[in-house]
Symmetry: C2
DNA sequence: CTTTTTTGCTTCGGTTGACTAAGTAACCCA
DNA sequence: TGGGTTACTTAGTCAACCGAAGCAAAAAAG
């Protein structure tokens, strides 16, 4: 009881901190957190498609179109019709986009990384174990039942 | 290096899961996550003021006004001029508001709580320690002072 | 080899959450 | 009384998101 509360409070602190760093980042980089995330996803391979990014970020395609519009206007990525499948659009990150990402590295990660690396070896190991445990407690898709309410299908598409 | 990455991935999984549950919750309860949070904050004591809630949630007062408007229209809380200080407005949760909260308990918490309670005693303890450590790594405002171990006030309100 | 269905993306209209700036009302102090 | 501060609201703006509707290309059916 007590303990659950304590852990929930810690969780909330983590979420809160993340939110705030997101905002700071937005100001520093001239990019909103959502735009930044798009850039990050595209940067992984240097290119992608709207559908793939939308799925990865779990937003609708409509939302993704809007985000891509903004990033394209800022010349941080380009759209071009795919050769293989002309329904698709290839999203390619531009040097400018890549530069923006590197100039404004994720503030949250920066801080976290710095501190994480300062920890003792065994502490790092334990933290990882715990974080992964929590993650799996939260994001396991096969939630058996979900008895309290019937929030339909949790994974992806809002009905 | 390796390890930092692993922990960041776990963190991202946690954030992502939270986001998604937030959305599901919104659909189930007819309340948006932000509205729900307001209700939760007010429910702690049964009443509050716009300023206090805004500070707690770290949004501007203007934003709070808008949120309160919506919740008031849904008759989940009431506004009434404070007696002591007539600049202030007392926000009081209504039975309907309380019912809404109880009907739609925070999905994320539900799941987390269930699983947390299923853990061994020592696992719980370790998880708490780790979560708090991460939280303090992230949310310490005064960056390099943040002695990693000052979580004195954990038992109640995240500042 | 057509027709139908599905898929990928965009457009449109609308909601929510968030901000700043400017306003009003009330309190506080001198 | 009058000036500064505080609490809240109003007005205007913007980002992120959604669902529905549309279009064009690919894939499946016939």
């Amino acid at each position: 009881m007590e303990r659950v509360d304590t852990s929930l409070i810690a969780l909330r602190r983590i979420l809160r901190a993340t939110e705030m760093f997101g905002r700071d980042l937005a100001k520093a980089a001239g990019l909103t957190p959502a735009q930044f995330r798009v850039l990050q996803v595209v940067a992984e391979n240097g290119f992608s498609t709207p559908k793939a990014i939308a799925t990865r970020m779990s937003v609708s395609q409509a939302t993704m179109t809007a985000l891509l519009d903004k990033l394209e206007r800022k010349e941080m990525l380009t759209r071009q019709r795919s050769q293989k499948d002309r329904r698709q659009t290839d999203i390619v990150i531009t040097p400018l986009g890549r530069a923006a990402m590197e100039d404004a590295p994720d503030a949250l990660q920066q801080i976290f990384v710095r501190r994480f690396e300062a920890l003792e070896d065994w502490e790092q190991a334990q933290l990882i174990a715990s974080l992964e445990r929590v993650a799996s407690m939260l994001d396991a898709q096969e939630i058996d039942a979900a008895p309290v309410l019937d929030w339909g299908d949790i994974s992806g598409r809002p009905s």
